[in-house]
């Protein structure tokens, strides 16, 4: 630095000396003789006189025809041309002085008086705060089995302006292997905000990233950033519980909760616990103060606050049992390459709860998806397939969002209603002929056993799932209702059933929960308001409802919760969160079990129904061996929902151990056939695994679960008739 100044000064001095010397040498040599110089007054040119540099001999001057004439003027009379222009010289001088003064004073005001303001502006130019996305917390099962983790991935980002540069887009297309028009689409997609960097490639190979970095000049406006992407070690395992993350969209920005900072570079949980516990999982953005140039390129990092990974969420899920359930459903419904229709049914769900605290230990839904497909390169093909009708909505969580007819699983609650209202007792008995027309309408309602069960009491009605017994109880509700004696409201049965949580959300910590439906006269009038003939509340509505058919809709989770209520007398709020641990490994949140509801049930009635459910499992020729084999003393109920022109909906729900209930497991398979045949084996298998896991004797190894391909073949209708 100093050297440069010295060199410059020296160079200047040397230059001056050399020039001066050159001039001096020339001047010394010049010897203009008197005779050689010409008299100016004779010349027709203006101002040309002699030069001190000129060296002309008289001979040479003579040759040139120059004549020298002496001037007669007195030297003293010589006038300078500037003599008469004093004012104008003064004016120019004043102008110059004025210019310099104005400039200097203006600079004074800017550099001295306004310095701090401009210094701030320069600082603002120079430093920018850059926020970096933080990796999300991981998701584990109750035992610490990782369900969703992170892996580093290279994302290629571009300024929106890159769209103006076709060459760059073409080069990127070659490197990333993405068609040019797709890249243009991605650049034009302003969903992350008009000025946001556009993600052109999310999980780019290191080789390609290195190429872009090496040829940065060929890719103006293109940057590469390391992002962390979700990785799911077991694929589709518990996919509906985990949900998935998405890039930020304007809707997400609009709906974000207070205190949650979302940048367009983030990924946000949009389904499953990724969404529910997004605020725990999302980390703190890293913040660095960087020095940038006018093009926004980083020059150096001034200060840096590292991003901190989000907290880890531990779920109540038992990954091994979950795996068993996921596998069982997949094997049952789509045994061949995941194509629905190659097995039994079109969709299904398994849910298992810890009845003591409401922990959801298994939540399996089929068809399913691999959340991996929602990270990195997003396959539109697969998305289109999933949105088609033949995929049977793989993204839908059938456990909480699927609504199914309850079928005979409902009978546990309707029999309790009958007992409570005195329409049935331990001593009452009915005769089942297989057909029933209690209302004398001529429309015969059938028991599933068309041959009839003969004479049986309520206990037998539950164990054998005899419809006739329940038709009678339903009729009793009708007879005591407004159409009959009038001592009961026409919603007495419904209100009793609703004590177990039907027709209401269970409050599980997942979005998109369905309510289900317990039909009431008001609902029916509203539903059929355009068809008045159908809108009338009839006796048949009771008899349909009481066997869980007709308009009754429940979610598998509602059934599981309600059976937990039967098993223990209280219903805990189902939940998936076990605890939250921060990045230091400290437990910061622990889920506190809470009682969701306590049905008003006479203990004796409850015991009566429990025993009947116990015997149902023990005495059923198809169900009993399943649980016996596994050494499980369970109580449960099958259900088989009938729908015209479709296979039956298979249900089975059981809780165990009977003496000291721990788990309740429910399984539904739409169009799966009979409940005992189709659903009960799944329930038994899952229950066995849960018991083994609790006892520490499980031998299951969790493997990767495949997502459904979104394909199906036509489901053959098996008109075999119902067999509860």
């Amino acid at each position: 630095m100093l050297l440069a100044i010295i060199v410059a000064v020296l160079a200047a001095v040397i230059a001056i000396v050399v020039i001066a010397a050159a001039l001096a040498v020339k001047a010394n040599r010049s010897t203009p003789s008197v005779g050689a110089t010409k008299g100016v007054s004779q010349l027709d040119t203006v101002g040309v006189g002699t030069s001190p540099f000129e060296r002309r001999t008289s001979a040479r001057a003579a040759r040139d025809g120059e004549v020298t004439v002496g001037s007669s003027e007195d030297p003293a009379a010589a006038k300078k041309p500037s003599d008469g222009l004093g004012t104008r010289f003064a004016a120019v001088g004043a102008l110059a002085a004025g210019i310099f003064a104005v400039l200097a004073s203006k600079l004074w005001t800017m550099q001295i008086l306004g310095n701090s303001e401009y210094a701030n502006a320069a600082e603002q130019n120079l430093y920018t705060t850059v926020k970096t996305p933080a990796p999300r917390g991981c998701i584990y099962d109750a035992n610490g089995v990782p369900l969703a983790v992170n892996r580093p991935a290279q994302a290629v980002l571009a300024d929106p302006e890159v769209a103006d540069n076709r060459d760059v887009v073409r080069r990127l297309s070659t490197v990333l292997g993405v068609p040019v028009n797709v890249l243009f689409q991605r650049i034009k997609d302003a969903s992350g905000g008009a000025q946001s960097l556009r993600v052109l490639g999310q999980d780019v190979r290191l080789r390609d990233v290195a190429f872009i970095a090496e040829h940065a000049d060929a890719f103006p406006g293109v940057t590469v950033e390391e992002r962390s992407l979700r990785e799911y070690p077991y694929g589709a395992l518990a996919a509906h519980v985990l949900g998935y993350t998405s890039n930020v969209t304007p809707e997400i920005m609009e709906n974000k909760t207070e205190g949650r900072e979302i940048l367009s570079i983030d990924t946000v949980g949009t389904a499953g616990v990724e969404a529910t516990y997004d605020s725990y999982l999302a980390g703190e953005h890293g913040e660095s103060k960087v020095m940038v140039d006018a093009n926004g390129r980083r020059i150096s990092v001034m200060s840096n606050i590292d991003d901190s990974k989000g907290s880890d969420v531990y779920l109540t899920i038992d990954a091994r049992a979950q795996y068993v359930a996921d596998r069982a459903l997949a094997d049952l419904i789509a045994p061949r390459e995941g194509v629905i229709g190659t097995g039994k049914g079109c969709k299904g769900a398994v849910v298992a709860l810890d009845v003591t605290d409401g922990s959801v230990v298994v939540m399996s839904s089929f068809p399913t998806f691999d959340p991996t497909n929602f990270t990195g390169a997003f396959s539109q093909d697969l998305m289109d397939k999933y949105n088609s009708e033949e995929a049977y909505a793989p993204l839908n969580n059938n456990v909480v969002s699927g609504q199914f007819m309850a079928a005979s699983t409902f009978k546990a609650f309707t029999s309790l209603a009958g007992l409570e209202y005195g329409f049935a007792s331990e001593s009452s008995s009915w005769n089942c002929t297989g057909e029933w027309d209690g209302f004398d309408t001529g429309v015969v309602q059938k028991c599933w056993n068309h041959a009839g069960h003969g004479t049986l009491d309520l206990y037998g009605g539950i164990v054998n799932s005899c419809d006739t017994v329940f038709y009678e109880i339903g009729k009793a509700f009708y007879d005591h209702g407004p159409e009959g004696s009038g001592d009961l409201p026409d919603t007495a049965l419904q209100e009793y059933i609703e004590q177990f949580g039907f027709g209401e959300r269970t409050g599980v910590d997942l979005g998109g929960e369905a309510v289900g439906l317990i039909p009431t006269p008001a609902w029916k009038a509203e539903h059929w308001r355009n068809v008045p003939s159908e809108a009338v509340w009839r006796g048949g509505d009771y008899t349909n409802m009481i066997i869980g058919q007709g308009d009754v809709l429940v979610t598998p989770l509602q059934i599981a919760c309600a059976y937990a209520g039967v098993a223990t007398g209280t219903i805990m709020r189902p939940h998936l969160l076990k605890e939250v641990r921060n990045s230091a490994g400290e437990t910061v949140v622990t889920f506190e079990p809470e009682v969701s509801r306590t049905p008003q049930v006479t203990e004796a009635h409850l015991t009566y129904v429990r025993n009947a459910l116990h015997d149902m499992v023990r005495e059923s020729h198809s169900v009993a061996p399943l649980f016996e084999e596994a050494g499980i003393d369970a109580a449960g109920k099958s259900g088989t929902g009938e729908k015209q022109d479709q296979n039956d909906t298979a249900w089975f729900v059981a809780y165990a151990p009977f003496d000291d209930p721990k788990y309740v497991v429910a399984c539904v398979v739409e169009q799966g056939g009979g409940g005992s045949d189709t659903a009960a084996p799944v329930v038994a298998e899952v229950m066995a695994e849960l018991m083994a896991d609790a006892a520490g004797t499980s031998t299951v190894t969790i493997e990767r679960v495949a997502g459904s391909p979104g394909e199906s073949v036509e489901i053959a209708v098996d008109s075999g008739g119902r067999e509860d």
């Binding site: 050159a22 040309v48 006189g49 041309p81 500037s82 550099q111 320069a122």
Partner: protein, 413 residues
């Protein structure tokens, strides 16, 4: 040029008179004192300004591959050679070459229009020619414009009091301006105007005429805007295109009037220039530490906005030093002009004074928001070897005026 008035008198060669009276035997060399041939204060100030300018330029071009400091040094080297040649050259030889100078001017300025020779660079103005390297003939024409204006006015012997002659002179002085506006290059055109104006004033034009010219000039500018408003036409994309002033020129004028109007284009340049200057403070951020230019916030830092680099790096003290050097340079030039023997020589010096003053005012003035933004380089500091050579040529001419003044004048001085 035949219509130009006859010369009524010529100055005597004082030198000839002097030599005759000095009773020296013919043939013996006369030794004019060295100190009289070289104006040492002038040379010293020039050396300081050039060194200071090189230092700032060196700092400004660091880290920018588009500029080469060696080219700037080469410009200084070539300039020194040309300066020395011109210093020794008797400027009076050019005195009655008015017509030739006018022709040279026109040819030089119109050169970029020659197909195959002219190229456009920067704003799309045809200001450049390619002869091995890119040069701007309009820059070199500054020398010939000075000479042309001086020789034109010198013919009137300091009294231009006939309004028809005045109009003729005015018309001839506007020729180079008209030529440069075909490129178009308003900045250089304004420099020609500044040279012509000072030469006109110092050439003895009647004060009333000058006043009328200023009034007429202001009226003409107003008229240009008014007529432009009438002539404008709409383009296909809905924007208006003007015929007389380019849109960017209008934009610069409007930005000058209202700097906040356009913070991305010219307004951005102005804002960044002001930030650079203001953030310099009293002593600056130190050489090479100008964040505004090194990080690209300041556009064209080594050329048009080099003053900002100086102001940012060396602060108010550095700026005042430059202004002081300029002031000294102008003051010395004024004294040389006063000492000149003949009107031609005096007008050459004053023309150069006018040019430097205007370029300094415009270049620094635009940086601080006092003048509209125009691409005019800062003498001796801005990057650009063409202009560096031009400045050295002008120094050479001034030196020639000093060296060729009469002995008597020297003795008196």
């Amino acid at each position: 040029m035949a219509e130009l008035p006859q010369i009524h008198s010529v100055h005597k060669s004082q030198r000839a008179l002097d030599s005759r009276g000095s009773h020296r035997s013919p043939g013996r060399p006369e030794r004019p004192p060295l100190v009289a041939l070289v104006n040492w204060p002038f040379l010293l100030v020039v050396a300081l300004v050039v060194s200071y300018g090189l230092l700032v330029c060196w700092s400004a071009v660091q880290g920018d591959a588009d500029y080469s400091f060696n080219r700037q040094l080469a410009g200084v080297g070539a300039g020194l050679v040309i300066m020395t040649v011109l210093w020794r050259f008797d400027y009076r030889r050019l005195a009655n070459m008015t017509t030739a100078l006018l022709v040279i001017n026109v040819v030089l300025i119109l050169l970029p229009h020659v197909p195959g020779l002219g190229t456009t660079a920067g704003m799309g103005a045809r200001s450049w020619i390619k002869i091995g390297m890119q040069v701007q003939p309009g820059e070199f024409a500054k020398v010939t414009v000075v000479l042309f204006a001086a020789s034109l006015l010198a013919r009137y012997q300091g009294t231009l009091d006939d309004w028809r002659e005045y109009c003729k002179v005015l018309g001839l002085l506007l020729v180079p301006f008209a030529c440069i506006m075909t490129q178009p290059d308003l900045g250089t055109g304004l420099v020609y105007m500044a040279i012509s104006a000072v030469v006109l004033v110092m050439g003895g034009a009647k004060a009333r005429y000058l006043l009328l010219t200023v009034v007429a000039g202001v009226a003409a500018i107003a008229a240009v805007f008014a007529v432009d408003e009438l002539l404008k036409y709409q383009l296909d994309d809905g924007t208006w295109e003007y015929r007389l002033l380019k849109n960017y020129q209008r934009g610069r004028l409007l930005v000058f009037l209202n700097p906040e109007a356009d913070l991305s284009g010219d307004g951005y340049n102005l804002a960044q220039a002001k930030i650079a200057i203001g953030s310099g403070g009293l002593f600056g951020k130190g050489l090479l530490n100008a964040t505004q230019s090194t990080h690209g916030f300041l556009p064209e830092a080594p050329t048009d906005f080099i003053f900002c680099v100086l102001a940012e790096e060396l602060g108010f003290m550095g700026v005042v030093l430059l202004i002081a050097l300029y002031a000294a340079l102008i003051a010395i030039c004024l004294s040389i002009a006063r000492a000149a023997d003949d009107l031609f020589g005096m007008l050459i010096v004053m023309g150069v004074v006018g040019m430097w003053l205007f370029q300094i005012l415009e270049n620094i003035g635009m940086d601080v928001g006092l003048m509209p933004i125009t691409g005019i380089p800062l003498p001796f500091v801005s990057y650009g070897s063409s202009f560096m050579v031009v400045n050295f040529a002008l120094i050479g001419l001034i030196g020639s005026v000093w060296s060729h003044r009469s002995i008597q004048g020297r003795k008196a001085a």
